[in-house]
Symmetry: C2
Subunit: 342 residues, 2 copies
């Protein structure tokens, strides 16, 4: 059965485009609060699970060993816009390890934020792996590798090399955290390669939402993972700019809502969130992969669950579309089928 | 009834995302060759109908009066990437009229092609309306306005001002051409404002495909429109770089196929094409508005209709997806439901 329309795109008063998808809202026991569409079909969560992938960084003790700050931990959960603060923070993590950008295996990406890209070009600068939106997550992986190398009596840079491979000790820990929090054995799930070259495992939205409910509450997690999740959520709330950047949804929402709402976008229309006070986790996927619809849907879900008529969430769920002259030409809106009770 | 899946997006061997939509292939008599999905629901054709919108420029005699070249006429049908050749060509049209970029009402847009944007920033340049992907179409509108002003004994710049408004004499001609070629009274169709500020009218894919079948054959058009359509198709085939730009699908396909295939993308997942030797027109819309799927679907349709196993069309219908390190991480592919007989 096809998934329902979640978001409509209006031009003038006519529906120009629409986005179907599925949404799971689950509590930490696995009880389903809301299921729209097929929440059991596996989806690649991509960057929406960066917080889960960062759990070993904290739980292993690596974050303490290398005295990572809130900003550095928030950046480990980020898909950042490549702004100077993001680049400097990632470089700072590597410097603490005695390493530099050559340790990163995420690939080179120009900043996604166009004014930042233009300013770099105007200064004659070139993009580096530090500008890659995943450079914080990868700096965290290298940090974990350095602690593992220390325990193994190995040379850190040599030990870290190849950390993006599924069978590398770092990635084994990361995959184990994904399996533990979602309750699904990722090693038996469909595997793809992510934009930043690490493996991504296709998991049901139901299980992804469960993982975020657990991370929001600590229920159902090991003590180490529960403490790590709490620390990462607190870090994101303390340094939300690091999770996204200027005018980014994740940043603006966490600036406004603090620890009440942890949310994170992933490529191809995925969104995950934890709402600790409600004990709920959210995972959604837009079938066609559109980020605009994923943001609008997450804004609508968050507003409904938090019983909020907050202007910020409404500005995303009902995003106004402007053309090159700044004229208001249309908007997004949640479809009637996107019905969530608080 | 929901439209069928047209394009699937694979990560590794798993389907990560999918795009539904509708496709109409029609001959100049209106006989339907292929209908996939709902071809009677009105869709905003956006920039996919720039050739139809350029018909009055030629049919009025304005293109001859101002001695427009193939490159300038191709640019009138273009959504270009803002490369230096596009900007210079648009500026050249305005210079022939004794005008400059201040006559354009399309708004300012940085070039869509990132290396071009970076090079501009490195030179300390700013975007202008000439860089807007629609600057060629708008230069054509201004050209038509100047001829109309001459006939009316009016001052050209003053006459042209406000040409983007639906009720301006220029836009009345443009809308009349749309109505005449599609056979649908655009004035009674849902109206929105396009990215470049002119009106866009929602029309059925069936009617859009008919218009392109007519423009490919001349059948069912006035003599003036038939001659104008032929001249515009020839211009696009002679100067395909002007229609798009470096590495753009429309440009590459028309470089390869010449007058055998005129095709043009529009925003929000629309594509239109004329295949003169087959007497067919094509119009398709991806429901969610994704350009990647519209290109892949058009490549698949063109390959099927032209009975071609051409590498270029296959490279778009089965586009390989690479990540930031250049690793092959997945691909697009036509769904089994995208079945077109030759």
């Amino acid at each position: 059965m096809a998934n329902p329309v979640l978001i409509e795109v209006l031009r003038g008063t006519a529906v120009e485009s629409c986005h179907t998808g599925a949404i799971a809202v689950v509590d930490a026991s696995g009880a389903v609060h809301t299921a729209l569409g097929d929440i059991d079909r596996p989806v690649f969560p991509r960057s929406a699970v960066k917080m889960l992938q960062a759990l070993p960084l904290v739980a292993s003790g690596a974050a303490d060993t290398f005295a990572l700050t809130d900003a550095e931990l928030a950046l480990a959960c980020a898909s950042h816009s490549g702004e100077p603060e993001h680049v400097a923070t990632a470089a700072g993590v590597l410097a603490k390890l005695g390493l530099d950008a050559t340790a990163l295996e995420c690939g080179t990406q120009w900043p996604s934020r166009e004014p930042v890209l233009r300013a770099m070009a105007a200064r004659g600068e070139q993009a580096t792996p530090l500008h890659n939106n995943c450079s914080g997550k990868h700096s965290g992986f290298v940090c974990l590798a350095c602690l593992m190398a220390r325990h193994a009596g190995a040379e850190p840079a040599a030990f870290a090399r190849g950390y993006v491979a599924a069978e590398h000790p770092v990635m084994r820990e990361v995959t184990a955290a994904l399996s533990a929090t979602t309750g699904v054995d990722a090693d038996n799930a469909p595997r793809g390669t992510d934009g930043c070259s690490i493996p991504t495992y296709a998991l049901p939205l139901r299980s992804l939402a469960l993982a975020f409910a657990r991370c929001g509450t600590g229920v159902g997690l090991s003590d180490g993972h529960a403490r790590a999740a709490r620390r990462l959520r607190q870090a994101a709330a303390a340094a939300p700019f690091m999770v996204g950047g200027t005018d980014r949804f994740d940043t603006r929402v966490m600036q406004a809502w603090g620890e009440r709402l942890f949310c994170k976008i992933g490529a191809e229309g995925v969104y995950c969130a934890a709402l600790p006070e409600l004990g709920l986790g959210v995972a959604l996927k837009i079938d066609d992969g559109a980020a605009r619809a994923a943001e609008a849907a997450m804004a609508a879900v968050a507003a409904a669950l938090l019983k909020s008529d907050d202007d910020l969430l409404a500005s995303y769920s009902h995003l106004r579309l402007r053309n090159w002259r700044g004229l208001d030409v249309g908007s997004l809106r949640p479809a009637l089928t996107l019905a969530i009770r608080a």
